[in-house]
Subunit: 319 residues, 2 copies
């Protein structure tokens, strides 16, 4: 924890949870004011359909609120917001040094937000030495607050311990990915180019969904295919089956690595998640089975997924 | 309303809402007891992975509770449950006569339920003369209760009127389906057969997602592609952008028809939804634009979707 003591961490955790609640309220207020009695002129409707302005304004206002709150309370902490990130040319979040850093996405699930589809949230992470030690996710339209702090566990609505599945955490299915829920996102790249990202993704999705034996042996027969439109809530809900965000999922015992299969995917070391890579592959917390440890089960599932998915090539993160 | 007076309808509506809340609590209790301290033996874990027993037990218990509650309060009403439906050889729910009939799915989103993925719900419809006049949907893990009664409006959590988007309800985008959120479900048929249902669905999904001009002109460039694993909540949330379930969505002004394109899809009459067909195409409530009525906009979107999707052939409903 470098320069952060345990008492300090408790204080920072409580601060982060309150910040998440307040920012969540701001998101709901923004959604309501947009869809409320305020003049729905033709122009407002046009703006709605372009969906850019409302998102930009809400993004900026919520990020500014969070940034200012942190600067006031912890003037020496670094701050990395979505805005800073979008302006960066790097593929990764610039979290390279040991300084305590707040990593904030004021509005994840922007398309959902603009359509009042409830799966949107604010995501607040606190990183020390490159590790996500605190995570808070607030989905105000769903009345759900996920939080976690290293060593303090992961929680839903501050009362239900995550993973919900306990005593013991069940192992991953022997035939995984068969029997698993598979969450994936279509993303914004819709170019109809042969072997483009959209087609590679769909090929991967179909491989995961198809019957065992199908797709030239790549069929994964997952139990269900889900797309929520919020990568943060994908993590939270996958983790629900046993936890939530990277800090939350890790605190609950999940494994997070890259979704792009490495060469020698059957034997390659499974790399730790690179914050900001935006090509995450996450596996829920898992208990041991008679034949393998929980971690071994998770690594097995990672390799089974890598066998079925195509590498994606993004010139810019998030594209 | 045949033999049902307005006062009676108010009473039945209040009864249905309470029934939805109670049934939702039963679903949460079942989920918790399954994932709680009760012995997670290897056998229990196996049963979890097969996912059949828990769903069957919960389905049956919740359906029996609802059925008995209705029989006690309204002994002359008919009852049609998921169980009755699954045993029927017909493609349609057998709602053909004018007798007041309760149509109940005790657990929609069963795969989600077995994985504690929060998008599951109980769905209660009350049908008179073939019309859904009352709808109640309770998603207990999301703290969301949708309700509607003919002439009384549609509501979220009994306090927020649906559609949330009002004053006025915005028209559908001129370039729709571009600009719309597209909710779809992968379903259980994963056979990797050429031109089978899975491949037809995926082809449809890709058409809806691809850039305008792509896919030989079929690209729909929808704003986002969503799969929640609960057709009921798909309806509810789509409708949120402006409502839930067939009764709820209709009460809010939505249009619901068949997802299988008819011949002459550009000119064919747009048929009313057939309850139980399980191939629904629903469009959110829409206000008028300078050039078309809300209904005209909805019909335009139906035809644009029909242009992009393949007909599916299900030997049995729900397969």
């Amino acid at each position: 924890m470098t320069a952060t003591s345990s008492d300090q961490l408790d204080e920072i955790y409580a601060f982060a949870v309150q910040l998440g609640k307040d920012a969540g309220s701001m998101l709901m207020d923004a959604a309501r004011s947009r869809f409320g009695d305020a003049g729905q002129s033709e122009q407002a409707i046009e703006e709605k359909d372009s969906a850019v302005d409302i998102v930009t304004k809400t993004d900026e206002a919520v990020e500014a609120f969070i940034k200012n709150s942190i600067a006031e309370k912890y003037p020496r902490h670094k701050f990395l917001g979505e805005e800073s990130y979008s302006r960066s040319s790097s593929r990764d979040y610039l979290i390279t040094d040991a300084a305590p850093t707040w990593c904030v996405d004021p509005l994840d699930g922007t398309v959902n937000f603009t359509h009042l589809f409830p799966m949107f949230c604010v995501s607040i992470g606190f990183i020390v030495g490159g590790d996500a030690v605190i995570g808070v996710i607030c989905a105000p339209f769903l009345n759900q607050l996920f939080s976690a702090c290293r060593g303090r566990g992961a929680w839903l609505n501050e009362s239900l311990p995550l993973p919900l599945v306990r005593n013991p955490v069940p192992p991953l299915p022997a035939q995984a990915p068969s029997g698993c829920v598979f969450s994936c996102e279509w993303g914004k790249d819709r170019r109809d180019t042969p072997d483009g990202n959209m087609h590679r993704k769909v090929e991967s999705f179909v491989n995961m969904a198809a019957e065992i034996g199908g797709r030239g042996g790549q069929g994964g027969m997952v139990h269900g295919v889900r797309s929520l439109g919020s990568a943060t809530l994908d993590l939270a809900y996958m983790a629900m089956d046993v936890a939530a965000g990277i800090a939350i999922l890790q605190e609950a015992g999940g494994l997070i690595t890259t979704a792009n299969p490495p060469k020698n995917s059957d034997t390659a070391a499974i790399p730790d998640v690179r914050l900001g890579s935006r090509l995450y592959l996450a596996v829920r917390p898992a208990g041991p089975s008679p034949t393998e440890s929980g971690r071994q089960g998770q690594e097995r599932v990672v390799r089974e997924v890598w066998r079925r998915v195509r590498s994606l090539d993004y010139a810019r993160p998030g594209a």
